[in-house]
Structure formats: C-alpha cells, structure tokens
Amino acid sequence: MPTITFEGKDFSCTEGETILDCMTRQGVMLPSSCQSGACQTCMIRALKGNPPEESQQGLKDTLKAQGYFLACICRPTEDMTIGLSSVSPRFSARVLEKRLLNETVVRIRLQRPQDFSYRAGQFINLVRPEDELTRSYSLASLPDEDFLELHIKRVPDGQMSGWVFDRLAEGDDISFFGPAGDCFYIPGKADQPLLLVGTGTGLAPLYGIFRDVLKHEHRAEVHLFHASLAEAGLYLQDELRAFAAQHKHFHYVPCVLHGEVPEGGLQGNITELPLKVLGSLSGYRVFLCGDPPIVNALRQKCFLGGASMQDIHSDPFVFTPQSS
C-alpha cells in the first residue's frame, strides 16, 4: 500500500483507491468536481515519486513534465509526496553585469548558483535584500549558461524595477526563489512549426525558448514576433537578426503599433499580425508572453486560427505599480 505524503502528514492508500478518495476518506478535502479525469479541478503535483501515466491524461506536456496529475483518477503505484507547489530553497547570486538594452529595459546577469537548474522560459522571484520585496522575472538565459539573464523593464513608480535601475550595481549580491512557470519548450515533434509572440520584456522568456529550440535541432520553421508600441521599445534587434541570418528556419519579425517600422518588420496590432503573416496556425506550437490583455487576446486568436489548446503556452506578465 503506497503512502501519500501531503503537507507533512502521511496517508496510506488502500489497493485500487484513488488519491482523491484516499484523502477524502481521511478528512482532507481537495478541490474536485467531475471525479472522472475531465474537468482538471483536482490537478495537483507530485513533488516526489511518479504518478501513473493514466493520471496525467489530457494535461499539457509542460504540466506532465513537472509532475502534475489528476488526483481523482490517480491510483498510485508507489509512495508519493504531493502538493500544490514545491518549497524552493533561497539562492544567492552575484550581479555580474548590468547593461541597458534600450531606454527602459535593463539586462541583469547573475552568477548561476551551481545547484540551481531550470528550463529556458521559466521565471524566478527576485528578493530585494533590505525589505524582502519580491517580484517575478523571466529567465532569458539557457540552463547550461553559467549566468542567469533577466530583462527588467522600468515600470512607472515600480518599486523593484526602480531599485534595480537606480541602486543595484555589478558586484552586489541578491537572492531569489524558483524556478517556476510552465511556458517552456519540450524537445520532440521536431517537424511542428513554432510561433513565439512577445510584447516588451515578454521577449525575455522567448529569447531563452527559441535558443533552446535551435539547440535541440528543431527542424520546422520558428517564427518570433516581438512587439512594442514604437521602435524605441524593441531591443536585441541586432542579435535576433544575426540568429535569423545564421538559421534559415528562424524568422524574426519586429512589430510596432505606430511610428517608423524597423527593417524587416511590420506595423499593426500584434494580436492580428501573426495570423496575417502565417495564415492558418493549424499544427503550430505557440508561446505567448507579455502584457496579459494582449496574451489573452492572442490565445483566443491563435486557437481560432487553428492551433490546438494543448499546444498554446503562455505567460502573462503582471506589472505591479507602487501602492500608495
């Protein structure tokens, strides 16, 4: 009889019993609804041990890879520790580099702690030392690089971004938790075309993801659309053009809503441009990062444009202005 550990307590699961039933029988009421593996209300994560394959039916590959499963149809075959989230140790890292990428975006590179691993496209939670103020930032680096790269936009009245711009210096130490997030590339299906769309610093996770994709020798076309209101908001244009020149199947399209159109770029509404260029998105794997209203609009457009829900990965950013 497998033992299920949840919030530090052990629960023994009888033969053939689901984890949901086992927990309910012992007084732990996990959220649930259909109890048949369809509605995903009871989704929870294996922090230790492996959930049986059938308990991950219908979940996205990115969730499966992180051990998520459906408690209502999970008949465990081994001991498991389950929970909604794992408790991350706190890491400390030195600022190696601080460089402006444009007027409002700064690139911070941190020394990667040796025991810290992540997937390209995930995010970390940065902690300001003096008062523990915490904000999430996506990683633009690759897991095997010896630095962690963040693209931080100066938010008007932003407490953390203001501090990073004005105070944080090369050589300082900063701490963080993580990683988290399920917007990342899983190698495989190398003939599946990819669409990556980011607004503003939504480029950061995509910068990690597309390089991860190229490294895994993804064969199909990879389209990266980076959008901003005007050209001044774009960044890393030269680097991205160099990647496009080097990899014939990687296409970089800088997009602006108004003003001068950058070389090889487009003007228009970013929620419409990818479909205008690509036509049908049937069969595409899609990654969307940046402003929540744009990401949400794009999710619907991409789905209606033919992409399957299982293949649309997104990371809507939240910008927190200073509260008075």
Binding site: S33, C34, Q35, S36, G37, A38, C39, Q40, T41, Q57, G58, N296, R299, Q300, F303, L304, S308, M309, Q310
Partner: protein, 121 residues
C-alpha cells in the same frame, strides 16, 4: 451496448471534440460574449467534462453544479435561444467526427436534459 464515449474512442477523442466544439462556440457571435474574459484552459476542461457526460463517459454530473456554474450567465441574459445555439454546435461537432445520426440524437437528448439546470429554472 457501448456508449457513444467508447464508440468515439474515449478520452482522447473527447479532447478532439472539445477542440472542434469550443472553436464553433467562440466563433459564434450570438453566444461568445458569455465566454469573454474566461480562462480558456479552465473553460476547455469544463467542456471536456460536459462532453464526457453527454456522451455517456465516466462522470459525476450534478444538476447543482450546472445550475451554480451558469447562474451568473443567466443574470447576463442567457436563455433558451443561446442554449439552442450550443446544442446546434454540439450536433455539428459530432457530425464532423462521423458519429451516426442515431447516436447524435441520444447525445442531444442527454444535453437537452440539462436545459433547466443550466437556465436555473
């Protein structure tokens, strides 16, 4: 006799059906305002539970959930005409998947049986 759920091919086939069904619903201007601002993934999971239920797959359907889940939409004006549109999309989804007419009728009658719960009557 096996259920439509089994004849379609079980869980994986329902995933395919949700894809087709949800596309039709979101593309229908008569009903899509009820789906504005909802989390698409959670919504798709709910539709999967619904399609699993109406095709006779494993489910734990309660009229109470259906009633509570749609009450805010009834306040927004959800009525029989909208429900009819959804049934129509369900019918054409199943037809597209090659389900026999007789089985479609069975599924529609199960879906029809949720009408009063959905419309909170």
């Amino acid at each position: 006799m096996s259920t439509v759920y089994e004849q379609l091919g079980g869980e994986a086939a329902i995933d395919a059906a949700v894809d087709i069904f949800y596309r039709k619903v979101l593309g229908d201007h008569y009903v899509n305002r009820f789906f504005e601002g909802v989390d698409m993934e959670k919504q798709a999971a709910k539709q999967k539970a619904f399609l699993t239920m109406v095709t006779g797959g494993p489910n734990n359907y309660t009229g109470k959930d259906m009633r509570e889940g749609h009450r805010h939409l009834v306040k927004m004006g959800l009525n029989d005409a909208h429900f009819d549109h959804i049934l129509c999309h369900l019918r054409s989804t199943l037809a597209e998947l090659g389900v026999a007419q007789e089985l479609i009728d069975t599924v529609i009658s199960v879906a029809e049986s949720t009408r009063d719960d959905v419309l909170d009557r």
